[in-house]
């Protein structure tokens, strides 16, 4: 397979930045999943779609709005009624779902080239994201595994909490570099490391 170029590249500077003399409190990485797929169920077919997700990626989605989970390599979360984002380190997720999600269940949209996945981790991750998004990042309101869809100005973002102090952000590829620069600026005051 051809290696995918990162849209962040000109602004992606590995190393420690900002106010890090007292230690870095944020770790930024681009997770570069091989596949990012959006699934949507027709009304009333949500349960069949959730079953198809379980068959293809082996993750059983918890019930309820914004529910999700991750096993490290594969991630899935709900971001709208009957709609789910699935990411996998490996390529070929869309083809696998095209077989499992028949036209009477719903639709499969391959966004592998359309989204950029940025991981923000560290003790100040919640604090930095709170500067960006007007949502509640406290653990009881946003538990590990859950997903949220929101906006930073007009940049639509899907946020997946993959750890107590770790979030995966999915942003439009075309806005990713500008979003990345803003994120780096926001991390400066606490010190951050790009890996």
């Amino acid at each position: 397979m051809v290696e995918r170029q990162s849209p962040l590249e000109p602004e992606f500077h590995v190393g420690s930045h900002g106010n890090f003399e007292h230690g870095v409190e944020i770790l930024l990485t681009e997770t570069r999943p091989g596949s990012i797929v959006q699934l949507a169920a027709w009304p009333g077919e949500e349960k069949k779609l959730i079953a198809a997700i379980r068959t293809v990626v082996g993750l059983a989605l918890p019930d309820g709005a914004g529910g999700g989970m991750s096993d490290g390599a594969k991630s899935v979360f709900g971001f709208a009624p009957g709609k789910f984002t699935v990411a996998d380190e490996a390529e070929g997720l869309a083809a696998a779902f095209a077989k499992a999600v028949t036209p009477d269940i719903g639709t499969v949209t391959d966004l592998s080239h359309g989204r950029t996945a940025i991981r923000i981790a560290g003790p100040k991750a919640e604090w930095v994201l709170a500067k960006f998004f007007a949502i509640d990042f406290a653990l009881p309101a946003f538990p590990v595994g859950a997903g949220r869809s929101t906006v930073h100005h007009d940049v639509f973002a899907q946020i997946h909490r993959t750890g107590t102090d770790q979030f995966d952000l999915y942003v439009f590829r075309s806005f990713a570099r500008s979003f990345w620069k803003a994120l780096c600026h926001a991390c400066e005051e606490v010190g951050y490391e790009v890996q």
């Binding site: 349960k47 914004g66 009624p81 309101a141 929101t150």
Partner: protein, 98 residues
């Protein structure tokens, strides 16, 4: 102003787009009843109080919502999906409510 989306929970109004008066009833597309069309396009109740409105959570789950907003206080007394056929998975659990 916060709108509590049935899927996403309480969100700031900047995430939402106003889609118009929720009291309007669109005539049949082939209707020749010009009075009905005129009422659909121009007549508004303009109440000083509770008002039925359609909003879209455009900066979130993108669902269309039926909202009752008080035009005097901006108090939101009810929010529901315009589409009633979303499954139980489309609603936040009771314990998630603020």
């Amino acid at each position: 102003m916060l709108i509590t989306c049935p899927y996403c929970g309480p969100r700031d109004v900047i995430e939402f787009t106003y889609q118009g008066d929720g009291n309007r009833e669109r005539p049949e597309p082939a209707s020749q009843n010009f009075e009905a069309w005129n009422a659909y396009v121009y007549d508004r109740l303009n109440p000083a109080g509770d008002h039925n409105e359609i909003w879209q959570h455009s900066g979130g789950c993108r669902a269309h919502l039926r909202v009752v907003r008080n035009t005097l206080t901006h108090e939101i007394s009810s929010v529901a999906f315009v589409r009633g056929d979303h499954g139980s998975g489309a609603r936040r659990k009771a314990e998630d409510k603020p």
